[in-house]
Amino acid sequence: MSVGNQFGATVVEPVDENETAAILRSANESGQAVIPTGGGTKLDWGNPPRKADLLLCMRRQNRVIEHAWADLTVTVEAGCTVAELQRTLAQHGQRLAIDTLWPERATIGGILSTNDSGSLRLGYGALRDLIIGVTLVLADGTIAKSGGKVVKNVAGYDLPKLATGGFGTLGVITRAVFRLHPLPRNTRTLTVAVDSADAMQRVILAILDAQLAPAAVQARNGSVDILLEGTLDGIAAQQSAIKQFGEVREGSPDVWKAREELWSEGKIVKFTTLPSKIAAASAFFSRFVIQATGIGYARFDGDLEKLRAAMEQGGGSLVILGGATLDAWGSPGDSFPLMRAVKAQFDPKNTLNPGRFVGGI
């Protein structure tokens, strides 16, 4: 145990599920607030917790338990970093098809709890679509499994999805099972130059509406990046089809780090919009990265309240990632009472991450 972090909380590092359960049970009984963490890359996301007594660090639970490569699944402990998992999977030519922030430090439990999928979501789905099983330790020490280790499974409620993006407020993820994808045979990054926000949106919509199969599409200031994966023939054919949308050049794979690079510049927001409103949404920012799915990231120093109102009016949302000076989340909508009821069932004493999630959950 040690003390020393931004919360002034005591750090505990359980070695397994049972120890995690014991710590949570005792904290829950004694009214201590617990902040779960992995690599600590996103501890400033969400609202600051109302109370923080224990920092529950999952880094010691970092094994890849079973890479069933012939079944395209993996069971992994929450404290394993994304990069470490990917290295293990690559030994059999496979991957978890995501491109998260800071993969060398971010852990599986952390990316799940904060729902950080990345730009490959266009081609392969989000974390919610890739996770097929989860083990959660609840605040009262209950160890509960849901889902399983087969890709197709509808037995019981889908708690893996409930845990994904739940910011650790319902339970601590100790283990996850994922469906995997083969590593691409070849990849090529193309960049189309665009001279206006309207042109940017036009190119994105045209690519989405074409019979292509891009793994990722993102827009930055002045350009649209496209990631193609597959056989050389397939890539070449798609590349020539994309030429009709503008001036195309082969780009560096480094462009996919553009989202991460935003972070060197202070306060970052995540905004969501419809693909057809990408031009309007991006107009608020001097520097941004927006994925074709309508999820964007930007640096923003202006009036956040006004910006949020504009995003919500367009049917989207605005979430502040890090150092929020106003509520990080915005309106959770008319299902908020139900969210609170779910929280009350899982963590009635508000032991886990109190106040960090939407509406003060």
């Binding site: 069933a68 012939a70 079944d71 395209l72 789905g125 919610r128 679509d129 959660l136 209950t142 509960a144 499994k145 399983g148 280790k149 197709k152 499974n153 509808v154 037995a155 019981g156 409620y157 889908d158 708690l159 409930l162 739940g166 319902l170 083969p182 590593l183 045979r185 989405l208 509406d209 074409a210 019979q211 292509l212 199969a213 597959g230 056989t231 397939g234 054919a237 798609q238 089809a241 995540k270 969501t272 419809l274 693909p275 057809s276 309508g294 999820i295 049917g315 989207g316 949302s317 915005g330 909508g333 008319d334 299902s335 908020f336 139900l338 969210m339 779910v342 069932q345 899982f346 509406g359």
Partner: protein, 486 residues
């Protein structure tokens, strides 16, 4: 319900739904006594046929006030008894809510009411070359609301995912009659992924009255390869080879000889007469598919395929799929009765479970036809029997259940797409430990503390909400005789 209350309730329902929106005569109620799993039958108290969200809300509010259980129903094609009425319940049938509310092609979204038929979603966007990806075999008759309840899959979910992958948002009437919205047209709405937990909850968390779906651009080309093997084991090895080569086809389906015979008898799909038939579908840009198809062909031959055909035209493809999609119903051609099973194994356990099913078949003398979604390990063993022979039905049921136990042993699941419903709830405690089930039911307690929405389904026991583990305190509902502990 005592007769007086019943009459008053029916009057009130008629007031909400109009004369033609309520079914209460005993002959008509019989239509709703079961879904496509016909060996469970319960006649409901009444059937409501709402045609708007407001009517659904009003009916559910009444149920909540009077503590009457309700069961939502779509087209009634479910195979696990999910829409089976509960004694004295009101069945809320959503078939009249079948409007397609919005088609937004630039954003690939379609908003529908729950009674819209699965295939009609594709129908309304096909001219723009889009389609709705989840394709359960019943897609020409099953409804989106039912698909949402069951998280329906289909042959192409290997690549495209399940219903849950394609539901972006929901309007839901909760069991207390309140109206809420989960998700939306944009992604990652702040808060818990309630849409994620609602889809596949088998009607136990409320009733979806509006669904925002994602549609998919039709790939440039689709090619279907048909390969004949001497045995399912050989075909299974070919599947492993395809996956190991780093390919993710849109679909990989397998049928054994008995299933082929039945399909031939029913729809004359012109399948080769073989021990194991593999159907591999690739889709995407032409150049990509052509390159990969050559590779699939090679892998199949290496694993013993003695005949390979590639369907190029839509007509050829449709015929190939017709045989597969008709496979369940086709069993009637070769057996008077049969049980459709739905289990999942890690795909690599396929040869092992096939030989175990063979052994069971030898022991019981009952034939089993096998139809698989081979890419994702979803088995549909069809246990054939003759009800007229004393003891055969029981033996078939036992055997079908034994197959599920084998699936669990191998780390699989008791259902890949048909749901738990009434049929498999007793199997849940074989697949999950008590704390697992208890945790799932915490969700149910948050949504439906009175257990009114499709109660008695999915879980073997009901967690009484607010109950403290360890000590026995009779729940008010238990005392009132509304629920019972068993």
């Amino acid at each position: 319900m005592n007769p007086n209350t019943l009459r008053e309730t029916l009057d009130e329902l008629r007031g909400i739904l109009g004369l033609h929106g309520l079914i209460s005569s005993s002959e008509e109620l019989r239509t709703y006594e079961c879904d496509a799993l016909t060996n469970f039958r319960v006649i409901p108290g009444a059937v409501a046929l709402p045609d708007s969200t407001a009517q659904v809300q009003a009916v559910v509010r009444l149920c909540h006030r009077e503590r009457i259980p309700f069961v939502a129903r779509g087209a009634g094609t479910g195979l696990s008894g999910g829409a089976l009425p509960v004694a004295g319940c009101i069945v809320i049938c959503l078939a009249r809510m079948k409007r397609i509310l919005e088609v937004d092609l630039p954003n690939a979204r379609v908003v529908v009411e729950p009674g819209v038929i699965n295939l009609d979603v594709t129908g309304c966007v096909a001219s723009a070359n889009y389609f709705y990806a989840p394709d359960p075999s019943s897609q020409s008759v099953c409804s989106i609301g039912g698909n949402v309840a069951e998280n329906s899959g289909g042959a192409h979910c290997l690549k495209y995912g399940f219903t849950t992958t394609h539901v972006l948002g929901l309007e839901v009437v909760l069991p207390d009659g309140s109206l809420v919205h989960f998700g939306g047209t944009t992604l990652d709405t702040p808060g818990y992924d309630l849409a994620g937990v609602f889809v596949g909850s088998e009607g136990t968390l409320g009733i979806a009255t509006k669904i925002i779906l994602r549609i998919v651009k039709r790939p440039e080309c689709v090619r279907t390869l048909l390969a004949a093997f001497h045995s399912p084991t050989e075909a299974g090895a070919a599947v492993s080879g395809i996956i190991a080569a780093g390919m993710l086809p849109a679909a990989i389906e397998m049928m054994d000889n008995l299933a082929i015979q039945a399909a031939e008898a029913a729809v004359h799909a012109n399948y080769p007469d073989c021990g194991g038939l593999l159907l591999v579908e690739l889709d995407g840009p032409v150049a990509e598919v052509d390159a990969l198809m050559a590779h699939v062909d090679e892998i199949c031959r290496k694993h013993g395929a003695w005949e390979i055909r590639v369907a190029q035209s839509e007509v050829q493809r449709a015929l190939v799929w017709k045989g597969r999609k008709a496979a369940f119903a086709a069993m009637g051609r070769i057996s008077p009765n049969y049980i459709v099973q739905d289990g999942v194994i890690p795909r690599t356990s396929l040869p092992q479970i096939l030989s175990e099913i063979d052994q069971l078949s030898t022991q019981t003398g009952l034939r089993v036809a096998n139809v698989f979604h081979a890419g994702d390990g979803n088995l549909h063993p069809l246990v054939l029997y003759d009800r007229r022979i004393a003891g055969q039905e029981k033996a078939a049921e036992r055997m079908s259940e034994k197959i599920l136990e084998l699936c669990i042993e191998k780390g699989g699941s008791i259902t890949g797409e048909h749901g738990v419903g009434e049929e498999k709830k007793h199997m849940m405690s074989k697949m999950f430990a008590e704390p697992d089930l208890d945790t799932m039911q915490r969700v149910r307690c948050a949504f439906d503390p009175l257990h009114l929405s499709n109660p008695t389904k999915v879980f073997p026991r009901t967690r009484l909400c607010g109950e403290k583990p360890g000590e026995y305190i009779p729940h008010p509902l238990e005392l009132a005789g509304v629920v019972e502990r068993f």
